[in-house]
Symmetry: C2
Subunit: 285 residues, 2 copies
Amino acid sequence: MKTIAIYHNKGGVGKTTIAINLAASLQKQGHKILLIDLDSQANSTFATGLMKFLFVEDDDLRDRNVSHVIESGDYDFIPDVVRKTDGFNHPEIDVIPSHINLIQKQSKLNQVASYKTRLVTKLKRVEEDYDIVIIDTPPSRDIYTEIALYAADYLIIPSDLKPFANQGLPTVLEFISQIDEFRALIGKNNLEILGILPSKISTNSKFLNYVFPKQKESLLNSHNLPIMNSIIFERTVLSQCTNQTITMGDLEIPDPKSVLEFAPDSPAAMEFVQLTEEVLEKLGK
Amino acid sequence: MKTIAIYHNKGGVGKTTIAINLAASLQKQGHKILLIDLDSQANSTFATGLMKFLFVEDDDLRDRNVSHVIESGDYDFIPDVVRKTDGFNHPEIDVIPSHINLIQKQSKLNQVASYKTRLVTKLKRVEEDYDIVIIDTPPSRDIYTEIALYAADYLIIPSDLKPFANQGLPTVLEFISQIDEFRALIGKNNLEILGILPSKISTNSKFLNYVFPKQKESLLNSHNLPIMNSIIFERTVLSQCTNQTITMGDLEIPDPKSVLEFAPDSPAAMEFVQLTEEVLEKLGK
């Protein structure tokens, strides 16, 4: 089992889009995937169709989500909290959902060091059940990011290559070196950076010919980081498939799809297939 | 001078859209406005046209942004760091921009209590220069939110009224009561909550007739909070005006507009005019 965290401290660079569609594409290719949402904003939870309720009283995520994995002392807890996506992708994916309550639990979790490594221990117990675990993270430097980066073996850093994403990288790297210090102590190798993944890249030809190469060059000049070959372009279909709904009586219910399910022949779907191949190759699979 | 913070810990509920367009509408009505971006993701800075650069070396925000207001011991510092928006709105607005570097500075700022109240003191020195100050905040509970909520007199809580926004409210209220405790110590009144502002509300008639009233009712039943009369609907034009660009040679440069500038006769613009009237009335202006 290999575990990949998707992280950048710059928000809005496509972390969730990448996490959910990479998971979907890997699952379609026959790999057994677990997707973990560690962001209190729960975008991956929504985008994989686990938030089909419109009213607080129908919220079935409150009592069974990723915060319970961290809080519970039961090491065989993951199977209890996993749920299958519902109409998002065929085959469906196993997901550990997040919840807005993670914000409230943050100060409690910060008090005890063992909370930070519970996910590491618990993932070991499901090693036989999954081939690849993908973890979506918050665009910040909080305890949930820390938990994700202890649990992961590999890191993908999505970036739109714009100045702020580039200037956020020294903070990401400083964070990773602190993470690696503690990983050594718990007998884990350094986090392996699969690379910066260019994401939300404009398809405008002037941009691609002039701005994009310059932004890539500026990135290479300022940081000693690999850039992945795959590119995730900014495409309307990627938001369309997340915004799908179904009408049930008087209600319009969220019914998101993976891009591979919604528009399998689209350029966006092809780009995710290419990313999947690159990831599998880098993981030696 | 009255200061309004726009805050909710649930992200994606329209904080930035509300901050920038409320500021624009107030400025158009002849009020002297200062907009402060206290979110490291710098969405308000981008959406008011202060991020017109595409490459790191052209970044003119790095050395003069809101983090310097907090760090500097010079109490007459605000005029040095303010800049006018550029094509965003007529008349243009004074903005204190943010920067991704705020993430890196967070641990330094957390060490000294006086950083948390610098904005309070510095805003007093520009009391004659502005009628209304609007502060955009991060969707979290970090030092920048704390700084914003000490500096503000009033609070608007944008909410899409969905379950997670509703369930995030107890954490918001707990935070505010801690904020008020310290405000009392520095001689400030409790933060006055202008209300929950329904935001990103679907215009679908079934939704408006059935789901929206139930969500409002659920909110009223669970929290003793006023709901504002204004409603900001989810409208395509609101993202269109932020995504405007101009072509300059080989480059496509961001050139965002306020909705009042871009589509003054649109329903969205009208909704912001109505919000402006409600806010002015509640501020006794």
